[in-house]
């Protein structure tokens, strides 16, 4: 046995990174692969939009609402701006806001939730009540409340949106993290660490967190997939980033009254947003299935 597995490991080590990546790719669920491709395209377009767009996203370029043409594939909005350029430029705003807000929410939520689940007792009880209270406010209402009470000065700041997304997500992630930590905390190897009288911080970092990384990863992907919708909804309701930044949800709201005359003005940001979320969701679905099928091989 010892010899056999030693040779297997040696063989695995000799394999190039590329071959392993290729094997992983071909074994991954198709949802994962399609999602990854869609995401890659979105990220590429967002990067392009960041450095270059056909027209400036605030420049007046032609006759308002003059319809689709080769120069203006999605037409021109009522402020005479090129919609294609605006959608392209909006990509990195949506993605950056979503990812950083989700990341902040997941980090805060995971830290609180994992500690709470491991410690139990009154701390857990208090955290749970707090999480429950925040989760009882429907998330869109909570997001609107947070954006509104920040006041007219802060409103529309991208940083505020990051904070709002994190505030909405942290207690939700906290609950999931707490549940995951609870199942890990009763494992004997955590008992062993407790029997060594290790500090809470060490137990959470060394024993709990690595064994909750699966659910937390899925949670991050899931939340990141919904963040563009949340930000878009806020934008749509008038609580998003400040004009004239072309965030997609906001664009849909701006162009809403054009629905009867030039529907492409809504369709373009709508489709951009929907495909981004489809990509993220497929990707997440794939990750969840990968993790569900077998835990990522720790030795490799």
């Amino acid at each position: 046995m010892a010899d056999a597995s030693a040779t297997t490991m040696a063989r695995a080590g000799a394999e190039s990174r590329l071959t392993r990546a290729r094997r992983f790719w071909s074994a991954a669920p198709s949802a994962f692969r399609i999602g990854a491709i869609i995401l890659a395209i979105h990220i590429l377009l967002a990067l392009i939009g960041w450095v270059w767009t056909p027209y400036d996203y605030v420049a007046r370029v032609g006759i308002p609402l003059s319809g689709m043409s080769w120069e203006h594939p999605f037409g021109i909005d009522q402020n005479a701006r090129d919609i294609f350029s605006r959608v392209l430029y909006g990509g990195h705003i949506v993605i950056l806001l979503s990812v950083s807000g989700t990341l902040l929410g997941v980090v805060v939520g995971a830290a609180l939730g994992l500690t709470s689940g491991y410690l139990g007792g009154w701390f857990d009880e208090a955290m749970m009540r707090l999480f429950d209270a925040f989760n009882s406010i429907p998330f869109l209402v909570l997001a609107l409340l947070a954006s509104a009470v920040a006041g007219p000065v802060a409103s529309g700041e991208p940083l505020l949106l990051v904070g709002v997304v994190a505030l909405v997500y942290a207690p939700r992630v906290g609950r999931i993290a707490r549940g995951a930590a609870q199942t890990v905390a009763i494992q004997d190897y955590v008992m062993v660490a407790r029997l060594r009288r290790e500090r809470v911080r060490d137990v959470v970092r060394r024993e709990i967190l690595p064994n909750c990384s699966g659910p937390l990863l899925v949670e991050f992907a899931l939340r990141a997939g919904y963040a563009p919708v949340l930000i878009g909804s806020l934008g749509f309701l008038g609580f998003g980033v400040r004009a004239p930044l072309p965030e997609w949800g906001r664009m849909i709201a701006e162009n809403r009254n054009l629905i009867f005359t030039t529907p492409e003005a809504l369709l373009a940001p709508g489709i951009a947003l929907a495909t981004l979320v489809v990509g993220l969701n497929l990707f997440t679905d794939g990750i969840a299935r990968l993790i569900g099928r077998s835990t990522p091989h720790a030795g490799a």
């Binding site: 046995m1 004997d188 190897y189 290790e198």
Partner: protein, 696 residues
Amino acid sequence: MAQAAHQSDTTSVVASIRDVGLAYWQNQTWNDVLHKVHLDVHAGEIVGLVGESGCGKSSLSLLLMGYRHPAAKVRSGEIWFGGRDLLAMSEAELADIRGNRIGFVPQNPTTALNPGMRVGAQIAEVLRVHGRTGGGEAVTARIVELFNDVGLPEPRALMRRYPHQLSGGQQQRVTIAMALACDPDLVVLDEPTTGLDVTTQEQIILLLKRLRSRHGTAMLYVTHDLGVLSELADRISVMYAGHLVESAPTEVLFDHPRHPYTRGLIGSIPRIDGRRPRDGRLTGYLDRREIPPGCPFQPRCPLADDRCAVEPQELAAFAPGHEVACRHADAVSPLVLDDGGVRPERGDSAILLEVENLDLRYGQKSLYQRLVPSALPPVVVRDVSFTIGEAEVVALVGESGSGKSTIARAISGLLPPIGGRIALRGSELAGDIGARSQDVVRRIQFIFQNPDASLNPRQSVGRSLARPIEVFFDRSHGVPRDLAERALDEVMLTADYAGRYPDQLSGGERQRIAIARALVAEPDLLLCDEVLSALDVSVQANVLDLLERLRRETSVAMLFISHDLAVVRRLADRVCVLYHGQMMQVGPVEAVFEPPFHPYTLTLLMSLPGSHLRPGQPVARSEPTRAPEPQGCAFAGRCPWQPDERCYTQPPPLHITDRDVAIRCHLPLADLSNLAGADGSLSTHATQTSQAGQTP
């Protein structure tokens, strides 16, 4: 009986499994689970099918019901039952046979019974679907008859209960009644006693024997436990990695095993008389990735040569009724048993750990429970006292709910006691681990039952072993990596294991690592909580050897917690028997296995597979008749010898025998000496090999 049934006439064959091959779709390929399996079950016969976990025995038992996992495919063969091939039938035709002509008893009755349906309704459903009875009253009458048959009390009340209101043993009796409801020709039992306590297991086995003699139902009994089959089966088939390797009448198999695997399995069973085989113990473990095209057992076989790896072995007649799949069958000798060497005498060593009048209760008090005192969890350990000497091995023995693991948790500081004291080398230990000094924490190390859960899956073995060194010692103690490698050596693993992760290890290897991790802290006391019970028999024997060597060669003391008296007999210096959190009997190991017995100790001994009841000897009730009061004897409700009402209400007095055994019982010592019979000796044989062993 067995030989009679195994005549070559095919008319008595109830079910015939022929050349069956089964494969699972896993990791993008088909993996063989069963390989050309050939097995007949004759009318009125109990056939045992034995093998270690993952050998394919459960897949075979389900296939005999015409059932297979959605990801499984039958590659070859047929299963003949009632003149037809089960594997070629439609779902509707199978539904006519299942539960009707073939009954099934599942491994875990708690999950196999529908939690939302009364147990009576679950049986009535079987009767109705198969058109067995007419109206409502006839169904009820039949269920009452069945419940009486399987020994369930007050059938009419019981059938209106939900599964969670029954004990594990009662639930299993319900599933047996369900399997028998339509008077089937065959009953398939898939590990029916695995989750049950030893005394409950014994009751179920007695029930099955009685049912067979009454109804003559043929049974296929699938298990990992050869000891159970020695009592029950007429014929045993041994399975290894999806291959049948040997098939013989029970006595022949135990006395003259002809396959090295069978011989090793028999040798791995811990024996209550403390003897062990001189050679032929199983090594390694079943790894499906390294099975050669020839004999699947070749990598672990002491007799194997190069040809074994390439020549497929098929079951072939060795003697009438005895089939073996081994080229070296002639060279396999009967097991020779040794006394296991003289135990080193311990003498009276200094006291290491002292436990006095310990009372324990689960869980923390929540706010709600503080407000409502009646919501407090019940006391699980009451007034338990014992001591452990330096380098001594003390065993805590009892069934589930006896509080034995709870006591270990209290000693380790995970569960502060509500009464009594625990002292290490004379100084009292704080109840909560947070209040203990780092040095005390280091001196007491815990080893857990389940090796799958005791290692962090995301840490390499080397990291897991180095961590206690970093926590407990400063740098002057040595380089953690070197110390970790030394610890690996101590549990007989090579240094390259340090780079592996738990999912690359077998259960036995993981348990060795867990032992090594406890040893690197250089403890004075190891708390071993059922460390063998999650392991396969062959692996169990190897870990037991390791513990025995530690006992011999190091000065570490152990508190060894187990439900298995045979294992305890091999390892322990002193034994402490617990029932429902109360101490029943304590004493030196040799003395505890001889009279006088506490009634519960005797019940445990009689439950060991292979022990024989004398005719007319009283048997402990499987369910308590009534709950004793807290200060009464916990065993009172089940005890068949209880003298009177005092047992329920008054604390039993403590008897001390001249051999230093303490027994708490209301019966006088003289009566306790005669419990097992007039001559006072036990006829306990772990297996029937004893006769073979005596005449080497």
